[in-house]
Amino acid sequence: MRDRIVSLRRHVLARHLFLALVGLLVVVVVVESVSDYRNTQLASMAYLGIAAGGLTVLTGINGQISLGHGALMAIGAYTSALLLPDRDATVPLTVVVLAAVAVTLVVGAAVGLAAARLHGPYLAGATLALAVAVPGIALYFKETLGGEQGLRVVMPDIPVWVLDAVFFVTGQDLTRSRFTAYVGWLTLIVVFLLLANLSAGRTGRRWRAVRDDEVSAELAGIDLGRARVSAFMVSAAAAGAAGAILAFTVKLAAPSAFTLTLSLTLLAAIVLGGLGSLAGALIGAALLTFLPSVVTDIGRNAGLSDIQAAELAPLVYGLVMVAVILLAPTGIVGSLRSGLQRARSRRRTTSPTTTSKGTAS
């Protein structure tokens, strides 16, 4: 029995590693073949994807809601900004990202401890307070955190060995925006790999048990509080990494970037994509990144004035949101998955497949 479990777990890990490798290859091919401008968009998609990935684990798998993930991203972004104040800063980007994760993890633990005692609307309220308060901190400590105008983030020069290595593999010189896209997507792959493993394993089963039925989870010997806090911490850590990537991409950490809108946007991303699914988080992030600029361009090409074209984007975004909720209440990935299962069960009606709810894929 034990052997079988071990081999199964190995199997899961192998599968995730394989997917990560495929992902890496796709990233290299895409990043190398699109323009600098698309690469900055890809970097934006990466940070939204990382944060949405963390949130989807919290909300979809552990059943906690958070309206404060934008604020957690702010903590990651400000940590990065403080570590990269000017061109002479010698902190390697890896260390910056890890530091951002560590600081956000600490804050996430504190918030998680409070959050573990709350449910539903109360939890939403508490995290909402976080989203509202954190930008205010930046305004209050104007001297160190730059107030309304925020802190500049100066990306260090790209290390020569990276330039050489990339040129060796791809035959192209590495531009700054391509470099940022790589940093963002490598971080995303690592974060998603960790999240997928965590939620496929014992921790993930505990989180799901707590989500589905608290009483039976407790009867099974699961410490409810510990499971909730750990889920919140993991999710916060992902938000911290996302904040760091945001700082690299935007090259600025300013309170206006981390309004409540950002937190709601992340929530929208995971609802659009499908709760509890990492692939869904990625799809949601892609929609949020590309939809506005595509719609604005279409509007402008259709002869609308600049102002009308700019107003078109939020309208279409809202309509897409409404359409998804109405037509695919389980999100895009949820609908695809159930569609796939229906097709499969129709093909072999004799052996019905078991469904597992909310698997991180």
């Binding site: 323009s35 900055t40 107030g147 309304e148 040129f167 593999v169 935007v250 206006s256 107003e311």
Partner: protein, 442 residues
Amino acid sequence: MTRHIRGGGPLVAALAAALALTACGAGGRDSSDGEAAVADPGVTDDTVTIGGTFPLTGVAAPGYSEIPTGAKAYFDYVNEQGGIHGRQIEYIVKDDGYNPTTTSTVTNELVLKDEVFATVGSLGTPTQASVADYLNDEGVPQLMVSSGSLQWGDDVENRPLTFGWQPDYESEGKIIGQWVAENMPDAKVGLFLQDDDLGEDAEKGVRQFVDDQIVAVERYTSGNTDVAPQVSGLQAKDADLVLAFNTPSYTALSQLVALKTGYKPQWFYANIGSDPALVGSLLERFSEGAVAGSSAALDGVMTTEYIPGIDSADDPWVELWQQVWDEHGDDGELTNYRIYGMSQAYAFVQALEAAGEDLTRDGLVEAIEEGGTEWEGPQLAPFRYSADSHMGISGMRVVELEGGVGEPLTDVLVTDIGDAEITTDDSGQADDAPPEGGVPTS
């Protein structure tokens, strides 16, 4: 994602092959880049492409979103007459919602996707601050920023491609401060400040002259719409003259609170927050119709002026703007914000004209530094552009609003940042008229 790796064999093989192929790849990196003389991005023989970012949506959109429509109308007007040195001006406007993070994204788009030659007139202090270093690093001129912060011109060494346009807030503070010291020496002065560069720079200027008259200083954070604590703070200290450096929404908000609490000081709003038409309409909106939204809402309020606006309809510049708007404008009336955009566009066209036939970014910057102080234009006082300073218009005059019209209280006064003296302008800038045809010639 798949649940089984079944059938993954061929895929693995393909991956391995792809990896092997790329690894055979490119060898060492060639570090010597042969730099040939290529034309700057955004310039062809018959076009020059420029861009700008503005709040077209969101809280800052009222008023400000009209600036690019004015600029566009003037560029269309110039294009119709054959452009500058045979080049048509293509003007791309992006919405940043007054959010620095979005500014960074859309500026990226302008630089990398649209490949603009320069940004012109982009609006806002926090927003443009977020991209100033990026634009300078990329070699893209950041021209005529629509903001009065000092950072658009006082640091030429670090930002050689950034230029201001409107008078800076510190100079405005100085001119207002001196006027108060001379004409209302007994007033108990209260300051109402936006808590960023706007308030900070202005306070520096004002304090040079009326430091001992100030009885109260209140600051508000942009975005927080409750200014009752600030206004009652001023009232509690019995300030009978309030010098306010704020955006138009906060002019309306402060007026509303003062109406409610029965506070009646003499108000002196800086130019940025004093457009009577916009403030009037905001007042009506914020009060849900309780206050009539006419331009007369700001009667008796003092402010400053650095370009002629719609209130002086017979000024030759305003006549030109009216003609441009009638011929090329979108729907709607000519407003002070559209005039602002046109005046700025006029200065950019002057720069293009001066840069000559062979248009390069360096050439354009040089042309502004060399000739900028001499350019005639709608501005009442000359520009300060030189190799040491990229600050814009050097002065303004103090006016009192009556029925939406600014009655001059002083001549045009000019100064500069720091302890530069305030003098009466003798360049005759305020009395010039546009050239025949409405397009500058060198």
